[in-house]
Symmetry: C2
Subunit: 336 residues, 2 copies
């Protein structure tokens, strides 16, 4: 394994209130870290680029402290151990962890998972077999209390979590309607992923389209988007509907969040809206990963990763790509 002599890093230089601009980031160069006793160093090959990152930097996450100014940007990443003084992690092993937006990361193994590159390519461990897949899996099955008679609607349906969520609902026997932006994404989710219907929110009235595709109402809404799409689905809830609140990407780039004006529809529908995050289910990840890997192997589940090239320096652009709706599937930044 060839070693670089320097480690490039993207650090947060200023706290954006909406979408970050180039001056909010700083590219720094340091020597590649050397592991101390009980530590190892990972050469990062693939970085996870996630909508929630915007909340981590703008200080509006209610879930965790914001990334500090001057700190390496946080990110989940996959890579290979390049040096080790840790008895449990040997050079050459493939691992996943919160390594941050940098080429090399030092770790004591906390929260690090070993990956099997023969079972699935590394980017898939950021997609269907990673936090992305876990969010879809536990959100639908646990929070959404999915049953096969349900009509399920997924927003951000061509995105990382949404595309997996919709496929899981299909595997479970549900009728599945995806909401996505543009004909290309809509074709992908119906033709390649097997969704029963797609609604293009850029050209269609979502509430009206739901009247057609979900005439009995929506039993489970897996929402990554919020905003007008959430408001439209709120008008089409079936009695006892469950809204699984996974995220609100339409609001992350806004200066101020906009609440769902139709939230009182929850009363008439006797419906619930419940927030969750996947890491609460960490002790059940192995079970979920085994099931998801089985579906992947059988070809019933497609994990699509949209690999953005350009290395660490390209991270700021890759993040903006998410909010422009330009990715299909899981956005991954390749680090050469």
């Amino acid at each position: 394994m060839e070693m670089n002599s320097v480690n490039h890093q993207i650090r947060l230089a200023a706290r954006p209130s909406a979408l970050p601009v180039p001056s909010d980031w700083e590219l720094t160069t340091e020597p590649v870290p050397v592991p101390g006793p009980g530590e190892f160093v990972v050469g990062v090959s693939h970085l996870s680029v996630d909508p929630a990152m915007l909340r981590w930097i703008n200080g509006r996450s209610s879930d965790s402290a914001p990334v500090a100014i001057g700190a390496v940007m946080e990110a989940g990443a996959a890579g290979q151990v390049t040096a080790s003084e840790h008895p449990g992690f040997g050079v050459g092993e493939h691992v996943y962890g919160a390594f941050g937006v940098q080429e090399f990361a030092r770790s004591d193994g906390t929260g690090v998972t070993k990956l099997d590159p023969l079972l699935a390519p590394l980017p898939t461990y950021l997609g269907a077999l990673g936090t992305t897949g876990m969010t879809a899996y536990f959100g639908l099955l646990d929070i959404g209390r999915l049953s096969e008679i349900d009509t399920v609607v997924v927003s951000g349906a061509a995105g990382a979590v949404g595309s997996v969520a919709g496929q899981i609902a299909k595997i479970e026997g549900c009728r599945v309607i995806g909401i996505a932006g543009g004909p290309k994404k809509c074709r992908w989710i119906t033709e390649d992923l097997g969704f029963d219907a797609a609604i293009d929110y850029k050209s269609q009235d979502v509430a009206r389209a739901l009247e057609k595709h979900a005439p009995g109402g929506v039993d489970v809404f897996f929402d990554n988007v919020g905003g007008e799409i959430l408001d439209a689905v709120l008008t089409r809830l079936a009695r006892g509907a469950r809204i699984v609140l996974s995220g609100g990407v339409s609001q992350y780039g806004a200066h101020q969040d906009r609440g769902p004006a139709n939230y009182l529809r929850l009363i008439g529908a006797r419906a619930s809206m419940t927030g969750f995050i996947a890491p609460d289910y960490a002790d059940r990840y192995a079970e979920a990963r085994a099931e998801l890997a089985g579906w992947l192997r059988e070809g019933r589940l497609v994990s699509r990763e949209d690999i953005h090239q350009g290395g660490i320096e390209a991270f700021p652009d890759a993040l903006l790509k998410l909010f422009a709706g330009e990715n299909t599937g899981k956005l991954v930044l390749a680090v050469p």
Copy 2:
């Protein structure tokens, strides 16, 4: 029993988009109805005046069809049978039903409950022993899944449902904080009803006050109000909090509803917001009413009715009184 010869009624003359104005109503006079076979006639003595009425007339209720233009305004009411051709209801019996805003109503007994005036005064059957009490009881215990270690916050805490909900939570052993408008209401809920603390939303910053009164966060929020109060409580949720969505009176008089901008806090708190209506629990009303009547008898529960005088003609004013926040406890219109 003395009989009037005419029956006064309040009918909906026009559909208001916000708070109704006098010209939205019409006072009509008809002969007192005569019961046909299997029917009886009720002389109404007490009308329930409810925030939800505004949704019934402005067509923004997702729960039921709006009151038709020209129809007698819908209302729950208590009264006494004045004439009967029904074997199950005798003249002089006290009953509750959806008799509408009129002095006399004809009924075939559907949805009508007999009342025992020796157990509790008739207005109490519109308050703690009526739909008001049922909403508080099932909302907290069933939707809120109340446990004695919970910190409970109630909005509209000096109102009909809120004042009962807070007292039930106290009886169940919870710490209870009420949010109400003005020092008089705040004193009433703490001094007379035994709430642990009151927050006057007219003079206090609700989020800051909750930091003081609920330092560990809010486990159950029983919300009748919505708007800024809901947004404030969303910032103070404990992990796993349950928001019981009973109503949104702050929005009923608005031309357009305003959604809770902080709804994404449900994710960080792994919290839920669930809508419900009491009539879904109709088959358990008897059980709930027995328990509430026991608490009333023991003096552990206070049912306060704010009796508005003036008869049928005073209904439009009584309804506006609710939205001006002028009532304390259950607003009841007395019909002489």
